[in-house]
Every structure is written in structure tokens, then in C-alpha cells.
Amino acid sequence: MKYKIDDYNDIALKCESLNCTVPDTFSFLPENFSNANNIDEFIYAESVVELRKIFKQNNIQLTNLELGTPKFRVRKYADWIGPTLFISFSLLSENNHLISIGLNVLSNYVGDFFKGSLDDKKVKFDIVVETTKEKEYKRIKYEGDPEGIKQLDKIIKSLNKK
């Protein structure tokens, strides 16, 4: 597994400028979040559709930034190219057990995605973590296998700058 951590843009500020819901739980960010001029332009990785369903089935609260049906980008790769998962500061600081549950659900879903495949199992996705009350954000760029997703738990929790 490989991962890289860097600073990320102010999510709350961008949400306010787009007049969309500021996420306070888990959320999936559109691929063009930084460049979008309005909510109608949002384009999500196609796996967001299934992940929203799986999170709902597991009673994990998610904030959808938009109302209605957004657009999705379909890529015909055997690799799993996931969406950007957002983790709010309230999850990180007050309910961080939910982060473990969310990552477990994600890891199981990606494991099922590859079940029965004998080809390489490559997973790529980002996690954006709100690390302080003062709206500071870090991005974790993950590249590895489905099992490695669970190991991100400790890395995410270590970003808490409470």
C-alpha cells in the first residue's frame, strides 16, 4: 500500500460559494469539486452510486452535497477508482469509531468488487479529512489493495489536531 498526505482546499468555503450543504459527517466529493462553478456541474465517480447505497444499508450517515440526481463518470477499467471520501472534524474528534466502521464497509465493498477476479487488484482513491475546527484539511491519496484500506484508520485518526 502507498499513500501520500498533502494539504487540501477549504471544503466549507467552497460549499458556501456553491451554495451547497456543508458536510458534517461522511460525504463523497465530486471529482470536479475544486473547479465546479455550480452544483449542476458536479460529476462523481460512478462508484459513489453503490457506495451511497452500501453506507445507507449499514446505517452510516452520509451528507449529500446536492439534491437530485447528479452526473457520474464511468470508466471501463478493471481497477477500482473510487471517489474522494470526506471525513468531517466532528467525526474525527467525537465519533472516530465511525471512521473505522466506514472504512471497514468501504474495504468490504471493494473486496467484493474484486471477488472472483484473478487479475491485479488495484485500488485508487482519496480521503479528505477536516483536521481542525478552524477548517484545515488534509488529503490522503491512497493506492494499494482492498485490504490496505482498513489500515488507513490509524493514519486518519493521527491527523486529529484537536
Binding site: 453503490e50 451511497r52 445507507k56 440526481t69 457520474f72 471477488k115 472472483g116 484473478l118 488495484k122
Partner: protein, 242 residues
């Protein structure tokens, strides 16, 4: 403990049919015997469909889904046999497609089998073995599209709003996302690891100095002229890397 008491006879029949068919899905077996076996498997699929309908009528989703696993497994062997038949009949394109379809069917069974499906990994490896041994290394294409609307094949509702998950079995049917509206075709990329291995580079077109175009099939390396003014064959210049 018998988890499927209603299907004891069906499972016993299935095992007999599959053993018989796998004994014929070997390259050295007679092609006419393999063709007969394909017909027999198609008839057996109809029988399984009737048993599945009964399970659905009873509202027994667990049984219906297991029978769908059996149907997909039978189809996978049918496709394996068709691959062998096509190879013997020098239809390499068709042989490749049959192999990929067989692999996809078995992967769906492994994903959805109520008992885990791991016992099928050996069969999946056998199919992977054909890919490595019988076919050259290939390049594939992958399309990137933006979709607006898609429909769920189970409930016919908007796929992003229902609870069904594509590739999962529900009451003897596999959920599929049916794309209804494409907003944009963004790109076509060449990839080594595509979602669908039937989308592959099939030929190379080569133009000689005198302007004549030749098309070389990447599976057979046979070359044909695209313009009728020249003779039909020439030695191939392109050989895919192994």
C-alpha cells in the same frame, strides 16, 4: 445440514451434468462431441429455468439465487466448450469472446454464491490459464463517459435512487445498470486492465509506400489488403509482444 432442502435433486443432477460436460471441455475431445454437449447444456438450462420459476413462485429468494448460480456455471462451461470449438474451427475472435464471457459468468457466480463460491476459484484459474497459454498479450480499450440517467434492471427505477446493487442477485435475477442517457463521451483510452476484455485492439492497419493499406489481425497475424488492387497477402510486419 442441508441448506437447500427443496433443491437436493436439482443439485445432484447439476453435479452429474457438470462432471459430464467438463470431461468434454478438453481440447483433445472430438469437436462433434463438444457440439452435442453444447446442445445438451442448452436443454439443461431450460430445465433449470423451470426449477427457478418454481422457487420464484414460492417466493424463495435463496433457492432462486442458487439456481441462477447454477445457470451461470452451466453457461460458463457452454462458453468454454464454444471457445474450444471456435479454436478448432479457426474462429479466433469468437473463441476469445467466449472465453471472456465464461470468465465473467464464473466471476459473477463466485461473487454471489450463497456458500461463498471460493471452490470455483480453481475453475476460474483454469479459464485464466487458457488466456495466458492460448492467446497473445493484448491491448484493450476503455471508454470514459459521463452519464446522466440510468435504470435498474430489477425495479426499473432510477439506478442511483433505488437500493439494488449492480452485479448482485435478487430473486433469481442479476441486477444490471442500464444506461439511459449519456451526457458526454470523454475519452477512449488504451489500457492493459480493462473492465471488458472483449473491447480489444483487433488489427493494425499498415500503409505501404505505394499507398496500399494492409490490415493485420492481431490474433492470427493474417494480413489482408484493404484496397483490391494488390495481391491479398503479404508477410506481416507486426507481431504483438508477449
Amino acid at each position: 445440514m442441508n441448506l437447500f432442502p427443496n433443491l437436493t435433486g436439482t443439485l445432484s443432477d447439476f453435479n452429474k451434468v457438470v462432471n459430464e460436460s467438463q470431461n468434454k471441455a478438453i481440447f483433445t475431445r472430438g469437436v462433434e462431441i463438444q457440439k452435442e454437449e453444447v446442445k445438451a447444456l442448452r436443454n439443461y438450462l431450460n430445465e433449470l429455468e423451470k426449477v427457478k420459476s418454481e422457487s420464484i413462485k414460492r417466493g424463495n429468494e435463496k433457492d432462486a439465487n442458487l439456481i441462477l448460480c447454477l445457470q451461470f456455471s452451466v453457461k460458463a462451461i457452454e462458453k468454454e466448450l464454444l471457445m474450444l470449438i471456435n479454436l478448432k474451427e479457426d474462429k479466433m475472435d469468437e473463441a476469445w469472446d467466449c472465453l471472456v464471457e465464461s470468465q465473467n459468468l464464473i466471476q459473477n457466480v463466485i461473487k454471489n454464491h450463497p456458500l461463498g463460491g471460493e471452490y470455483l476459484l480453481g475453475y476460474a484459474s483454469r479459464l485464466k490459464g487458457y488466456e495466458k497459454l492460448l492467446f497473445p498479450k493484448m491491448m484493450f480499450s476503455s471508454a470514459g463517459t459521463i452519464i446522466k440517467n440510468s435504470e435498474c434492471s430489477i425495479c426499473n427505477g432510477e439506478y442511483s435512487e433505488c437500493d439494488h446493487i449492480k452485479g448482485t442477485f435478487y430473486m433469481g435475477k442479476m441486477c444490471q445498470r442500464i444506461i439511459k442517457e449519456i451526457d458526454e463521451l470523454e475519452e477512449i483510452s488504451t489500457v492493459e486492465n480493462p473492465d471488458d476484455k472483449r473491447c480489444r485492439a483487433k488489427a493494425i492497419i499498415d500503409r505501404s509506400t505505394d499507398g496500399v493499406e494492409y490490415e493485420t489481425d492481431l490474433l492470427t497475424l493474417r494480413t489482408k489488403t484493404l484496397q483490391p488492387t494488390k495481391q491479398n497477402t503479404k508477410p506481416s510486419k507486426c507481431e504483438p509482444a508477449h
